[in-house]
């Protein structure tokens, strides 16, 4: 078994893993070990490395992988607000269509505590794992906010009264509902994206273009 077109691909563990491996399998890659061994990180014989989705842009930017798959949420969080302001130097080549989620602003059910805080205190406190997306959204809508970055379950923050609202990614809304939170605003739709290292994009132009053409031909991707 050999890597697809000689390319090294960064594959995200977690929610996007299944979809990504299905895609690689559809391209003819032998993904059996990749599926069965979740401790192994480097699958040199098939040109795959696995990692957390947030690390994918890091490895691809550095050229440790030619291509990578990660969520639009990750790319937005690591992006520059304007060209040339230190965003990740990667190409966003394709919307792969799967892993569809929505970045939302949510708060406790009932009268919106965030709106109330904004009216009376002039500032709303917002917990999130995506501080830059949250700050950009609130700034862009002209609201003052204090962003509280948390690493774990964001839903806890408004329930304890630490914040009035959260910005988080949701697929079905179930976790939000179970925690008595309601979606107030939809910020952006996020799906899996194919990204490329800028140098590989030039030096391995035809293997990459060929892989993209094959991806577009698959019913699972590109058609979204």
């Amino acid at each position: 078994m050999s890597p697809i077109n000689g390319l090294t691909i960064a594959v995200p563990r977690g929610a996007l893993f299944e979809g990504t491996v299905d895609l690689l399998a559809a391209l003819g890659l032998d993904t059996e070990e990749l599926r069965s061994n979740d401790r192994k990180l480097l699958f040199a014989d098939i040109g795959v490395i696995t990692m957390r989705p947030t690390d994918v842009p890091t490895y691809v930017e550095a050229g440790a992988a030619d291509l990578g798959v990660t969520g639009k949420d990750v790319l937005l969080e690591q992006a520059a607000d304007h060209p040339g302001e230190g965003g990740r130097e990667v190409y966003e080549l394709m919307d792969l269509g799967y892993g569809r989620c929505t970045m939302v602003l949510a708060s406790k059910a009932g009268p919106d505590p965030a709106r109330e805080a904004l009216r009376r205190l002039g500032v709303m406190r917002v917990a999130t794992k995506y501080p830059r997306i949250a700050a950009r959204h609130l700034e862009g809508t002209g609201r003052q906010a204090e962003i509280v970055e948390v690493k774990g379950s964001v839903e806890l923050a408004p329930l304890t009264g630490m914040v009035e609202a959260i910005v988080d990614l949701t697929a079905t809304g179930t976790t939000l509902r179970e925690n008595n939170l309601v979606i107030r605003e939809e910020i952006v739709e996020c799906t899996a994206r194919l990204i490329a290292n800028p140098v590989a994009h030039k030096l391995k132009a035809s293997p990459i273009d060929d892989l993209m053409a094959r991806l577009r031909g698959l019913p699972a991707a590109g058609g979204a």
């Binding site: 930017e61 550095a62 050229g63 440790a64 992006a79 520059a80 304007h82 060209p83 040339g84 230190g86 965003g87 130097e89 990667v90 190409y91 966003e92 080549l93 394709m94 919307d95 994206r193 290292n197 800028p198 140098v199 590989a200 994009h201 030039k202 030096l203 132009a205 035809s206 273009d209």
Partner: protein
């Protein structure tokens, strides 16, 4: 005692210095042989002077006040200072003018990404030599430099900063839509570009062209088989290609989507790649309007190599063979 250094800066000790020196000696030799005279300019300049150029990515990040309250900045590149030198010190000289430099520049990049805030650049500026001849000369000097250092697998990506804007104009893209589309391309976001095109009301055929053309890259064949409006927009690239010596042309990857994050480029732009490194080793391009902003209207082209990145690429290709130091001791080839 451990004393800290500012983020993004570092000390260079003798073993490394010896190797870096070997590289810069080789580059200096090539520059001098092609008639490029070395200049030094101050690391500090008036902010108002450097602000005459649109630097975008390379905007100066470090500012101080002098005793009169004037704002000084640490230079973020050498092209703008040399434009100032040409306008003030060479106001009446007959072009073309050829300069080279080895200088530290200062940028406010985010640390921990292999990008230093103090970087040593080695480069040339060729002033008063228009496209395509000047561009071909700069590319030839660039390739001779890289060959002389012994870098084996490097390639030069060559594009044209005016290509995509020209294509938008000739396809009649509404003026207010153009900056956003260009920004998506600068940010290398083809998914975003596709969305914006779909929402812009531009015809499907033209949208497909605007999405597909900037993704074309490869040998000279990408210049040949273009649809009419793009074919015209790529005229400049074809003219440069015709003038390139074979050993330069074989290194070039034509890249119709190449745009650099520095605002002053007007025509051909290029970047140097090596498989040993995930980012470009250096780059350059034409800046035909910049000198005019300093009061001397002359077309110009130049490039800068990031010496530390070149060093890393050489180390990656050579893996401890010591070939670089040997070459420097043997005298300088190329």
């Amino acid at each position: 005692m451990i004393h800290p250094l500012p983020s993004g800066t570092r000390d260079v000790l003798p073993d490394e210095t010896r190797e870096v020196r070997a590289i810069t000696d080789i580059l200096r030799g090539v520059f001098e042989r092609h008639g490029y005279g070395e200049v030094y300019t101050p690391a500090l300049e008036y902010e108002s002077v450097l602000a005459r150029a649109e630097l975008a990515e390379a905007r100066p990040a470090y500012r101080v006040f002098d005793e009169t309250g004037a704002v000084l900045v640490l230079r973020s590149d050498m092209t703008v200072p040399i434009a100032r030198v040409v306008a003030t010190r060479y106001a009446g000289s007959e072009p073309p003018l050829r300069f080279c430099y080895f200088a530290h520049c200062y940028r406010g990049v985010r640390p921990q990404r292999g990008q230093p805030r103090e970087l040593l650049q080695a480069g040339i500026e060729l002033v008063g030599s228009p496209a395509p001849e000047g561009t071909a000369e700069a590319l030839s000097v660039l390739c001779r430099c890289l060959a002389a250092t012994g870098l084996k697998d490097y390639r030069v990506g060559l594009g044209d900063a005016s290509l995509f804007p020209a294509l938008m104009v000739s396809l009649g893209v509404p003026e207010q839509a153009r900056p956003r589309l260009l920004e998506a391309l600068v940010m290398r976001n083809f998914v975003g570009l596709e969305r914006m095109l779909a929402e812009s009301g531009i015809s499907e055929r033209d949208s497909a062209l605007l999405l597909e053309v900037p993704q074309r890259r490869g040998g000279p064949e990408v210049l040949g088989e273009l649809p009419a409006p793009a074919h015209e927009a790529a005229t400049g690239l074809r003219q440069v290609h015709e003038l390139l010596p074979a050993e330069v042309a074989e290194r070039v990857i034509f890249d119709l989507g190449l745009v650099r994050n520095i605002g002053y480029y007007t025509g051909a732009v290029f970047e140097v790649y090596d498989p040993a490194l995930g980012g470009p080793i250096g780059g350059g391009g034409r800046y035909d309007d910049l000198l005019g902003r300093f009061g001397r209207r002359l077309p110009a082209v130049g490039f800068a190599l990031e010496v530390d990145r070149l060093h890393i690429a050489l180390a990656g290709e050579e893996r401890g063979t010591g070939a670089l130091l040997e070459r420097a001791q043997d005298g300088i080839p190329g």
